[in-house]
Amino acid sequence: MTDTTLPDAPVLTQESRSLWATAMLRLRRNRAAMASLVVLIVMLFAGIFGPLVAPHSYAEVYPEFVKVPPSLTPYPQAEAIEPAAQSALRRARLEIGEISISGGQVSIEVASSREIDPRVSRYIDRSDVFSNAETTVADDGLSGVITADVQQLYFLMGTDGNGRDLFSRILISLRISLLIGFLATAVALTIGVLYGATAGFIGGRVDNVMMRIVDILYSLPFIFFVILLVVFFGRNVVLMFIAVGAVEWLDMARITRGQTLSLRRREFVHAAEAMGVSRKAIIRRHIIPNTLGTVVIYMTLLIPKVILLESFLSFLGLGVQEPLTSLGVLIAEGADNMRNAPFMLFWPALTMTALLFALNFLGDGLRDALDPKDR
């Protein structure tokens, strides 16, 4: 017999990483997830601060610019200024000469057989397009130049059927969608985790009955019930949070219950029990932190589901009401107007797609990062 020397136990030189630190490391290596994270943060900021800094309010109507296509140059565009000036001056009984435009300023040469009253510039001011009009009358009083500032409006994504800036509306709809996403998820999370943890911890007959109820609820066509709820109790945003949250808690309850059940039988929980740790403390110190990882994963996957459900309701006209808006409403409006204004469908659809992709990729990335199976 030979003596086999046991290899020396590896010396732990580096500090042991916590579960979350490891997860973050893995997540950082996942390029799709990190890109999604960046996209999400941008969207989050756009949703929170965008409406505050946007040049147009989401509800402001520009009747003269209905369904104008997206453009990087300001509205009114150069070729539209001349007719606007002409129509504004039509009642002034002046002969209109050359109209020149340069950098937000327009100057109109006018002439008349009678003496020109400098107050004719008021005609120009009355138009929405011009402001600060001033008349300089030549010495003979029969000709002059009217100068005025031209309104410069940027509609980067065009305007909608009522002449509202689409970009501002997308910003506010991002805010609404994200808000509903987070709040409804919080509702679902609270109900689901409490329900599941209770069932799992008490166990036995109570657990059986509670989970049987979940099974029955699973087989119901829930979206139809949400619509019933919205129809019967009117459409308001708070109700939507609750309705959507109340529908989506089932998965969470099942997951938490399963986790709790398996955790209860683990040695460290037994050890804690043997040492006389109170039930409350066990739940707080051992059960909840250990279910947290799974719950976080399902939360990131739940948010897109919730946003989708809200947009679905809004798409049907059962969700958020005017003048507020959400991505679902914008897509529905775009679908109605796609023949003459396809950009009204394109931008909201693109935003929605990007948002959902980002949330799903991040959720998948988190799941890979936190999955206890390959740890």
């Binding site: 029955i216 087989s219 019933l228 679905f312 006209g317 796609m338 396809p342 959902l356 799903n360």
Partner: protein, 305 residues
Amino acid sequence: MAAYAIRRLLGAIPTLFIIVTIAFFMMRVAPGGPFDQERTLEATVMANLNATFGLDKPLWQQYFMYLGNLFQGDMGPSFIYRDLRVHQILGEGLPVSMALGAWALVVALVFGTLLGTIAALRQNSTTDFAVIAVATFGITVPNFVVAPVLSLVFAVILSWLPAQGWGDWNQMILPVIALALPQMAVVARLIRGSMIEALRSDHVRTARAYGLPNRIVVVKHALRAAILPVVSYLGPAAAALLTGSIVVEQVFNLPGIGRFFVQGALNRDYTLVMGTVVIVAVFVVVFNLIVDLLYAALDPRVRYD
């Protein structure tokens, strides 16, 4: 298995009963009635209307009346379409929705299986990545984005297919694709995963060792095992198709029950909305039962007793 089927069927009755009850009482505690209009009706007119629709009776009596009528297949009068009863309206819409849903399911299953199998057979090739990309796209992008975009591209820009209506075969293509796409994506992903596993399993290796042609190994031996997760996904798929068809019917202007449901919801036509919920609930319960039985038939390891 017959005993199991019967027991499940009996078990479904209380579920349906609960659905009807919840829906009924939700409708009655809701503020506002179907006859509340901008101009208030005269008291006598209102009383007459209420008497016609039985709304003047005590609540419990109304409830049992509704239940009794429901058992006879009568879902009460529509509050908005005054001359029609709800089951007549839904009877018109049901065939449309059923055809749409059935075709979408077939398309999703056939193409999903095909794509998933191809991807699994050429794992990590360009084809595989293409299928994964399409599947991810299909799962992420919702119906209400896909349907208008399809309509925009194929009906408006290219004008290859009609943008709306129902009846002709070519009017079915776009709605069916829009409805099937997300489900097809899920099926493809499921099949790909289970197929990769099945191809590595012992019984497939044995079949190969016997020298069976590749086609037979894949179709008869591997696919048979790989299809099980799809069967258990059929239940959620049916539910997703139901909600999806609401959107698709709306976008393509199809006279199905989904559109009646939305119209009813927007007009506060209580009986119509409730009727739809009951129909859909019955459908979901029955479909889930069929799926469970199918699963037992396909997988001999599953035993019900």
